[in-house]
Symmetry: C2
Subunit: 180 residues, 2 copies
């Protein structure tokens, strides 16, 4: 859970980073950045800020912002009925993204959040700077971490059903509770 004050502070900080990355968003969009603490109540360490530009029943385009030191927990996009699962292309606009996928453990630049060794199982490190991108096939476990100064990136994907994403950490809850 997050206090309303924490939520709104993160929302504003993310909106500033989006604009500093020279991405054009409207005032309405800047005001509806979603802050996700994944139910872990430690947003500065594990969380993400997400602005959905478009989401239809076929595709989604989002802007994802991670603050310096913030990690988006390991997850994957499972099959849902006829849909083989979300395919997602991440494209960095500003900062450096540490992206972790299955493969040999090459984790060097990044780190596993403290006390969370079991919740971050894939450790092949991809470092993506501005203009760098990677496509994550459905079902592929992945987690993201911001380098120095944070990171701003696009996510271009097939239909997003965030609520059905599966996380390695059993404590994750995809819906953020806000308390006043």
């Amino acid at each position: 859970m997050l206090t309303r004050k924490e939520y709104e502070a993160a929302q504003k900080r993310a909106a500033v980073m989006i604009r500093d990355a020279n991405i054009v968003v409207t005032a309405e969009e800047a005001g509806r950045v979603e802050v996700a603490d994944f139910g872990l109540s430690r947003l500065d360490r594990e969380g993400a800020q997400i602005l959905t530009l478009v989401a239809t029943d076929r595709i989604a385009a989002k802007i994802i912002v991670l603050f310096e030191g913030q990690t988006l927990p390991e997850h994957w996009h499972p099959r849902v009925g006829d849909d083989p699962g979300k395919e997602e292309t991440i494209r960095v606009v500003r900062g450096t993204l540490r992206c972790y996928v299955p493969g040999p453990d090459t984790l060097r630049e990044g780190f596993v959040p403290q006390g969370q060794q079991d919740a971050y199982t894939v450790r092949q490190e991809l470092l993506l700077g501005p203009g760098g991108q990677t496509t994550l096939r459905p079902g592929t476990k992945h987690w993201f971490q911001a380098g120095a100064g944070g990171v701003v990136m696009y996510s271009f994907s097939t239909v997003a059903r965030d609520i059905l994403d599966q996380f390695t950490d059993p404590n994750v809850q995809r819906t953020t509770r806000i308390i006043d």
Copy 2:
């Protein structure tokens, strides 16, 4: 057809506009902007410049550049087998896009390219500035025109099969011939 000189000049001009719109692209990407004259050999009047950021068998994300006075010919994305046809969200980054879709004729700001009255049949005018966007459902006829100074926009879509797009103008050929 276009001469190689014309093709490369348009490519460079589009890359400059993309960067002037503060969109981050790599040198490799800037060098592979596709120039489309739609087989009409009058690029300054009817044509488009397109940079594909990602294209998989499920989604595509592209940057489309139209020069001032340039019109992207009327077309639609038909059903292909099980696919109901391409769904496309256009999001403007810089300049004003004149977007035409079915509905009452409200064409005021734009114009139909000279001598092409029969090739531009839908005339409901949407004017989209930076941060403005619209989603075009499959099968919807549409055409685009740049306002003053040209326009730079994103296209977020389901799988793109440009070669199967259907155009109102029977003279359109989707593949651009380059002559040396």
